[in-house]
């Protein structure tokens, strides 16, 4: 399974504590721009920066693709997903969703990757729900809607 994934989803999954498991289980593909964004975020001292630095340590398990520069990060993500024939695009960026939905590739949230681990028998329902709770920390209320809705995945 190939997943093209954006920066905010990677950070959310790092908060969940299962990103390292995910990169060992499925193929994760990011753009060069996302790699640069993680490096830029990692300079700071807040929790997002710490998460970004941890993600950068997992890069040996993540495919980074360079594509022709586009106006937005989501356009580059779509390009990567099409070129690498990804099964899914993963984005927690609510504003980007309408554009991502225009492609033929299914759009998922980061929470779906936790559900994937659950269905694959790698984590339990309880572990999935605890991971969702960890993802809720440090996020805005709008972003939290994804994690609130994610509870339904495990019901």
């Amino acid at each position: 399974m190939k997943f093209a994934i954006d920066t905010c989803s990677l950070i959310a999954l790092q908060y969940s504590g299962y990103l390292s498991t995910i990169v060992e289980t499925v193929d994760i593909i990011i753009t060069k721009k996302i790699h640069s964004e993680l490096e830029d975020i990692g300079i700071f001292t807040d929790s997002d920066a710490a998460a970004a630095r941890e993600i950068l340590r997992l890069l040996h398990r993540i495919t980074i693709m360079e594509v022709s520069q586009r106006a937005t990060g989501e356009e580059e993500l779509i390009e990567v997903a099409l070129q690498k024939k990804c099964d899914f695009i993963v984005s927690d960026d609510i504003r980007a969703i309408p554009k991502l939905k225009l492609t033929n590739i299914s759009t998922l949230f980061s929470t779906h990757l936790l559900y994937y681990l659950f269905r694959a028998g790698i984590i339990s329902k309880e572990e999935g729900l605890i991971a969702l709770e960890k993802m809720r920390n440090n996020r805005s209320w709008k972003e939290n809607l994804i994690y609130i809705s994610g509870i339904q995945l495990f019901r």
Partner: protein
């Protein structure tokens, strides 16, 4: 449009309300309307996550959610739909 409602209040509470309204030079009903509106807005902000959860669980309707949180209800609906659609697609990967 307004609707008249009748509520019974404790005598002491009513005296306190009248004292405050008198001090602020506003009619009792106006002071009550203002305070009620403030409390409702505060609670809607405080419980918007809970309201979203109630909607995703099917306990409240989209109309109720929209009344409570306004345009942001559209985002809640979109997120809920993508969550359910994505769940089905992952289930398919596992042969369902």
């Amino acid at each position: 449009m307004t609707t008249q409602i009748n509520i019974r209040l404790n005598e002491n509470l009513l005296q306190e309300i009248d004292t405050l309204a008198h001090m602020l030079h506003v009619p009792r009903s106006e002071w009550l309307r203002m305070k009620l509106a403030e409390a409702v807005k505060e609670d809607l902000l405080k419980y918007r996550e809970a309201l979203a959860m109630e909607y995703t669980m099917g306990h409240i309707s989209f109309k109720e959610l929209q009344t409570a949180i306004g345009r942001e209800a559209e985002d809640v609906r979109m997120i809920s739909e993508i969550t359910q659609k994505g769940k089905k697609e992952i289930n398919r990967l596992f042969g369902e």
